[in-house]
């Protein structure tokens, strides 16, 4: 059965690793929903967070093949409930919205969001939350007919258990 699986991979920060990793999905024709690469808590080591819908059998094989990439230090897969996942999204909405809601701080409070730019033409709202919360606000604004543009970050994740063991062998943990 297709489910969302999130792969976390720690790699050497080398050119080409990204292509090799995405190639493992491409070979099995699995579409990547979101992908984020950034430096991990250790200098020189990148952390990949890749979300895709597939079966457990497939993701298990994909992860095995990702691990075989020379520059990959470790890779594992998770279901979303095993991870603390947050996304950031920006919503550009028409300033009519503010007019109808009165005060601007009331608006941000009511959406659990932050206004980061405000002018007569539009308002930019920033919201951090789970994928569901981000999408709910998007749908809500769309229904009200005020959403002009929308962009999101992809998942920022932390494992509920410490990730230390992933990095354990490297002997240069600089988490502190």
């Amino acid at each position: 059965m297709n489910k969302e699986y999130i792969v976390i991979a720690l790699t050497e920060n080398q050119i080409g690793v990204l292509n090799r990793i995405t190639g493992c999905y491409l070979r099995r024709k699995i579409n990547i929903e979101s992908l984020k690469v950034s430096e991990s808590s250790i200098k020189g080591i990148s952390m990949f967070v890749i979300s895709a819908y597939t079966t457990e059998e497939y993701i298990d094989r994909v992860v095995q093949q990702i691990r075989n990439i020379i520059d990959v230090i470790e890779a594992r897969y998770y279901t979303p409930d095993e991870l603390i996942t947050q996304e950031i999204a920006l919503y550009k909405v028409s300033s009519k919205m503010v007019e109808s809601n009165g005060r601007i701080d009331a608006l941000s409070r009511s959406l659990s969001a932050r206004i980061i730019e405000f002018n007569p033409a539009y308002v930019v709202i920033e919201k951090t939350g789970t994928r569901a919360e981000i999408e709910q606000l998007r749908d809500d604004l769309q229904r009200r007919g005020v959403l002009q543009e929308f962009t999101r970050s992809g998942s920022v994740v932390l494992h509920r258990a410490p990730l230390d063991d992933l990095l354990h062998d490297l002997g240069e943990n600089t988490m502190a």
């Binding site: 095995q64 075989n68 230090i73």
Partner: protein
Amino acid sequence: MANKQKIKGAEALLLSLIEEGTRDMFGYPGGQVIPIYDCLYDYRDRINHILTRHEQGAVHAAQGYARATGRVGVCMATSGPGATNLVTGIADAMLDSTPLVCITGQVPSSMLGTDAFQEADIISMTMPVTKWNYQVTSASEIPRAIAKAFYIARSGRPGPVLIDIAKNAQVEEMDYSYKPCLSLRSYHPTPEIDEEGVRQAVEMINAAERPLILAGQGVVLSGAERSLTEFAEAGHLPVATTLMGISALPSGHPLFVGNLGMHGNVAANAMTQHSDLIVAIGMRFSDRVTGDVQNYAPQAKIIHVDIDRAELGKNIRIDLALHADARTALEAFKVGLKYRERPDWFAFAEQERAVEQKEVFAHTDDPAGRFITMAQVIRNLAEIEKGDAVIVTDVGQNQMFSARYSRFNASRSFITSGGLGTMGFGLPAALGAKVGVPDKEVVAVLGDGGLQMTLQELGTIMQNNIGVKILVLNNSYLGMVRQWQQLFFNRRYSFTELENPDFSAIAAAYRIPARRVTKPEELNGALREMSEAPGAYLLEVAVMPDENVFPMVPAGASLSNLIYHD
């Protein structure tokens, strides 16, 4: 080489190759590797560079060399078309775990990405077919890149590595010093064996009534041939080999029950289906070995040993997976192993061998005595060579007949394109093998189709006096496809018939002695003449046009559903 010296990148490359033990390499020059070739001119006494006639020839020759010697094969090509011509061989080496270091030239780094003359993004192109690849853009990177390349190519599950060297890096000066690569923090090629798993495995083997060892190329790659023999003898366990595992155990060994898979031996496949315990060592359960996976080895528990963790459980269900080097595992298995006679099981092997004798071996010659058959050629060749020749095959019927009827005394004696099934592999791989093991008799067994895919390498054989024997089984067809068309496509022989040139005349043009035979009574004399020839020799045998390889497991069918005849 701890002392630093100032030299050009091209020279650093050659010194690094020498540090890694490179004595022979295969290549083809071109615009973006001229500086390397210029330097090679001064190193002719230290590196034997063989100029092939096509880059595909160079990479297949390096493969044949690596497979025959166990050393890393090295090939070189220029940028653009030179590099892209290597890709087939690299993909072949990837699937067959052949250690290669492929050097390609590249446009100067200042011109990368500009569609410069003969620029190809070979790093992107070879990403899915290399174990690792790297683009060098400054001379100072060369020793480290080469050290890593050799380390990665030959450790763990071996494979091809490509190093793309921008032209400016070849001509820049750098401070040279060499340090071999001994480890990488992101790569752990030597797994530690799970002791508990070993204990369980031995217990399962001791308890098994109908055990069968499946030996793959992993046994050869880890140098575990002797361990395999000792393990099998200690437990009195029958051994079958995959196509890539052929010659890991001498063909005449009493515990050897034959080859597995689509055109394997009846006993090996039947024993798979009746076994209660499969012990698979260094093999990957390819679809050509398993047939229908749902009905594969239905009564057996399966122990799978492989150095590549991604292979464990990839294709079939496994009862006990051991992530380990083949030799380590086989040595560990010997401890506590019980010798058991298992007379019924060996009687079953004998009975199935008799089935093959009756259904297949008894019918390999042309009953009318008119045509020579391919089976006959390979069997007679085996008698003449007495198991001492290295047999290098092309792909198709010639390959399957060679696998079925050759005899081998020593490991690394059967060199074939297993995973990728690359036609055109045979001739260049054979010349590469001969360069690697000049004291052995090397016979290329080719079909008329495959020979013509890399025919130009006859020039390489001529120019370098490479004493390789070339045996062409000419049925004027792309025989294996013709066989499928006959059996599964209603005898519609769509584009498989070949009108061939006079191969002896072609060989003569390359000053290679040649002979063509057509009648069964001429065969043995001609084979003997080939075998006794001091240098290269081409023997063309015109064989029965519609001979098929049997037995056969149709693609996707269960191993229990063998076809024995048309």
